[in-house]
Amino acid sequence: MERWFLTKSNQHLEIISHLKISIKSMKHLLEIDTKLLKNFNLILMLQMIPLWVISAMLVNEIQPSLYDKQMLYYAVALVGFFVAFIMPWRKILWWFVPIFYAINLGLLVSVEFVGKSILGATRWVEIPGVGITVQPSEFMKVAVLMMLGYIISRNPPSKSGYGLWMFLKLSIVILVPFVLIAKEPDLGTALVLLIAGYGVLFIVGVKWQIWAVLVSFVVIAIPSLIYPNLHDYQKKRINDFLNEPSYHVQQALIAIGAGGVDGNQKDEATQTQLKFLPISTSDFIFAYLGERFGFVGMVSIVLVYILLIFHLLFIASQHNEDYLIQVFASGLAFLFFVYMTVNIYMIIGLAPVVGLPLPMFSHGGTSFIIFSVIFGILQNLIAFKDFLKYNSDHKTFMLSKNRLK
């Protein structure tokens, strides 16, 4: 190739020198790559395969036309994963995170003014000129995790945990987007953010006195402060939940109950095939899983989630000193826990219907893509956990902060 350029024309000399530089940098990249692969957590990736495979299979059975779309989501999710994986997060964190967080806050605020209203809730905003509508609350989850990781890694807690001042600072990072999302209204996503955020803080460490005060406040506040401020449809959902299960839940119970121990053949899974089960590919896909593969199938999938969550918590606990990994791993564990537990609880009538998908299982692009991106970032952080060993710049910074032993 080089010879081709040399013989062809001298004009290309400049370009050739450029290419040489890029080849050099590629070599450099490859050098890093070997390090990347050395630390890459393959098991974590393998744990997701059963979810992706069974989800695709179920969606194909319910509505074959959605299968191609699902494959497209998978492709985009994989691309998202790799992009997130090769981004030099530890290098760019210091400028990227504040900007990303600010943009997302801006988008959330803009939802208030120019948001698109679908079914009475204003959750979507149209990006001008492209014609794509996005749901800023989904990106906010990533932004909050990044922001927490960034702040915590710069100001690690003492042995006894954070004091009140830092706790309030970190709370603002969580509560501002929470209020904005809850106002949309999208109470489900807002609560996910709240629980995952404070879950991360709990894992990272906050003085126990603060938790004690907080818990007792929440116990008193929820009934007296929150309920009167709910929207009518939200109250109705809670009432439905406390009294008769809604039609949707009733159908979900029938589908699960008809599945029995080992489920039914595809054509015998009548509740889903004849469309009695509503939104069967997305939020209620667990009910079809129950009808199709019975108790055994449901327990298997729940176990896959449990193992995944345990693994994430294990990763977090293994990286005591690396707060970025700890925040992302435990944050992801909490996200998985809240999504899967609330989703299944609402399907089996133990929680009001709040519209949360089953993570990386329900048909829908956002859930697959966002979670893949978070996994990508986590894998990147794990891969570059020895970053300090070859990045003197950052080392100097950390030393200056007295964080390196």
Partner: protein
């Protein structure tokens, strides 16, 4: 430590989750499988066609007219009301007689978001009225025309009390019979009511597998309706019509019956048009019928209870004979009245100068009241009533028509129960001539006449073949004192054939020998001081007595029973006799009576 707390919390949530999932999918599996099945199965009933009613010669008395109903597409009144109006205007454009506002009201009553079916606004339009407009109307996508049947009674008023009519079913009828609920129509009276369960047939149904939008996916089961269950009656509609028309302005009832219980004709005059009721009768017609003093709605042959008058006398004599056989062998002397009790209360014979020496046969022939007064006092009311009930007085005949009345045959117990009063001797006396408390329906009198004629107590039957099954005849044989029975029959022979008989004028000149008995049942009682009765013709119409006659023929081989009552007709022989005579002539002409050799009747006891 922090990780342990988190994991414990997580495990609690997952424990609850798995426990609940286990309860639903494993423990409640059968319950939910049942619900799942109910979800996917839909049952659609198919209406059976109502059976027809035919007369004995195959003439159709009730059938289903084929025509069309008109329905309008759902959801036309929401939003753009003009769509509904234009659909109704289109229909009225072709059928100007239809009422716009009624159609709109019916539509709006049934219209809702959940009703995805066409709404029927016109129940029935005759085939020939619709057929020319059908091509144009069926092109309108908002209008649906479906084949529909409508009950029709071609003989109109002539048999309405026998056949009855059907009408829209009410809440109570719907809950008691699932077929009625689906069909929406039920027999309200007559045969339509008593044989409703046969005529309406059995529902067919289809079970479909449906999806959540109620769309049919697959036919799982199909059961055809069992219908066309017809009823062939014993009625001859031509005879029925002849008798009805013969009445003219008079009102009353006639029963023509075979001695085995087959009812050839049962007429109640005046009558009504049953077709008025099929689509729901309007208030004006209802009021007019309701207020008619001649009671067109009352089925007089089973719902009209009249004092039987002298027609009771054969039964009374048979009751005396059963109770005290020697009693009837003794003649009575009639001087025109008897005196009873301390007050010497007078009970008059109809003939003020008396009948003199009176035998049983003469007592029947000339209807001597004193004969029965005296005998009844000797037998007593309780023995009389017991026997009379066996003969069918005060008991239902068992005819296959709904809500038959049983009349009254009083005795001491009955009076005590009913009026809390003791029985008086005088009441025995007037009961013996079929007055006082005694009440009978024409059907009861016809049945009892058959008993006298044949010694068999039968059950009158309108239907002969029900859904291809022959209706079993019911006959209870009686063993009367033959001597007395013969005398009674001879008395009845005299009534129609002896110059002194009360129906001689009308019935002596028949193609065959007729035996019978007339009666007059008083509507108003006659005071003690009245020496001579006012003649019936001079009385006000509605206070005049009812005229009875009950007959059988031929005398020596009874094949026909004819019983007639002319309301406010005066004396039985003169008012009812000619109608009966016409009936016998008609029957003779149509070959209903097998010819018998005219035998000589013993004329010896013709004092």
């Amino acid at each position: 430590m922090r990780y342990k707390i988190v994991i414990v919390i997580f495990l609690i949530f997952w424990g609850i989750l798995l426990h609940r999932v286990y309860n639903i999918s494993v423990k409640s599996n059968i319950y939910y499988e049942k619900l799942a099945k109910e979800n996917i199965e839909k049952k659609i009933h198919s209406k059976p066609t109502r059976g027809e009613i035919l007369d004995r010669n195959g003439k159709i008395l009730a059938y289903n007219k084929i025509g069309f109903s008109i329905s309008i597409a759902p959801h036309l009144d929401s939003g753009k009301k003009k769509k509904l109006d234009s659909a109704i205007d289109t229909i009225v454009g072709y059928f100007p007689d239809l009422n716009k506002s009624v159609m709109k009201k019916v539509y709006q009553q049934q219209s809702s978001h959940y009703n995805h079916k066409f709404i029927k606004v016109v129940d029935f339009i005759q085939y020939d009225h619709m057929i020319s407009h059908y091509p144009a109307l069926s092109l309108n996508e908002n209008i649906l025309i479906e084949a529909e049947t409508n009950r029709y009674y071609p003989y109109n008023k002539y048999a309405s009390h026998i056949i009855g009519y059907i009408g829209r079913s009410n809440e109570k009828e719907n809950t008691t019979d699932p077929v009625v609920e689906v069909v929406g129509r039920v027999g309200k009276s007559g045969l339509e009511r008593s044989y409703n369960s046969v005529l309406q047939g059995e529902l067919g149904y289809q079970i479909f597998k449906v999806n959540a939008r109620n769309k049919e996916i697959e036919l799982l089961k199909n059961v055809d309706a069992k219908d066309n269950k017809n009823i062939i009656t014993n009625i001859d509609i031509a005879l029925q019509k002849m008798i009805y028309d013969r009445f003219g302005e008079d009102s009353g009832a006639v029963v023509v019956m075979r001695p085995n219980g087959e009812v050839l004709a049962a007429v109640s005059v005046p009558s009504f048009n049953p077709n008025l009721f099929v689509g729901g009768i309007n208030f004006k017609d209802w009021k007019a019928l309701q207020e008619d003093l001649d009671h067109p709605f009352t089925n007089k042959f089973i719902h009209g209870t009249y004092p039987p008058g002298s027609t009771i006398k054969m039964g009374m004599a048979l009751a005396f004979s059963n109770a005290n056989p020697q009693l009837l062998d003794r003649s009575e002397h009639c001087r025109g009245y008897i005196k009873l009790g301390k007050a010497d209360h007078k009970f008059r014979c109809w003939s003020s100068w008396g009948h003199g020496a009176t035998s049983l046969r003469k007592a029947i022939r000339e209807s001597c009241d004193v004969f029965f007064y005296n005998k009844s006092l000797e037998v007593g009311i309780d023995a009389i009533a017991k026997n009379m009930r066996d003969f069918g007085f005060g008991t239902a005949t068992g005819i296959d028509l709904p809500t038959e009345y049983s009349g009254i045959m009083p005795d001491k117990n009955w009076k005590m129960r009913r009026y809390k009063q003791p029985w008086y001797m005088g009441e025995t006396v007037i009961s013996s001539i079929g007055q006082g408390y005694v009440l009978s329906t024409p059907m009861q009198i016809a049945r009892y006449t058959a008993l006298v004629a044949t010694s068999n107590l039968v059950t009158p039957q309108i239907a002969s073949i029900v859904d291809n099954q022959i209706v079993q005849k019911v006959e209870i044989p009686f063993h009367f004192n033959l001597k007395h029975l013969t005398e009674i029959r001879a008395g009845m022979y005299d009534v129609c054939n002896h110059p002194k008989g009360t129906a001689y004028k009308a019935l002596h000149d028949m193609p065959f020998l007729v035996a019978g008995k007339t009666g007059t049942s008083q509507v108003v009682s006659i005071g003690q001081d009245v020496k001579k009765r006012i003649s019936e013709e001079d009385m006000e119409y509605y206070t005049r007595s009812h005229a009875w006659i009950t007959t059988y023929a031929p005398y020596d081989d009874p094949q026909i029973i004819v019983t007639a009552i002319i309301e406010h007709g005066g004396h039985g022989g003169s008012a009812a006799g000619p109608i009966v005579a016409d009936i016998y002539r008609w029957l003779h002409q149509k070959g209903y009576v097998k010819p018998v050799v005219k035998t000589e009747v013993d004329e010896s006891d013709n004092r």
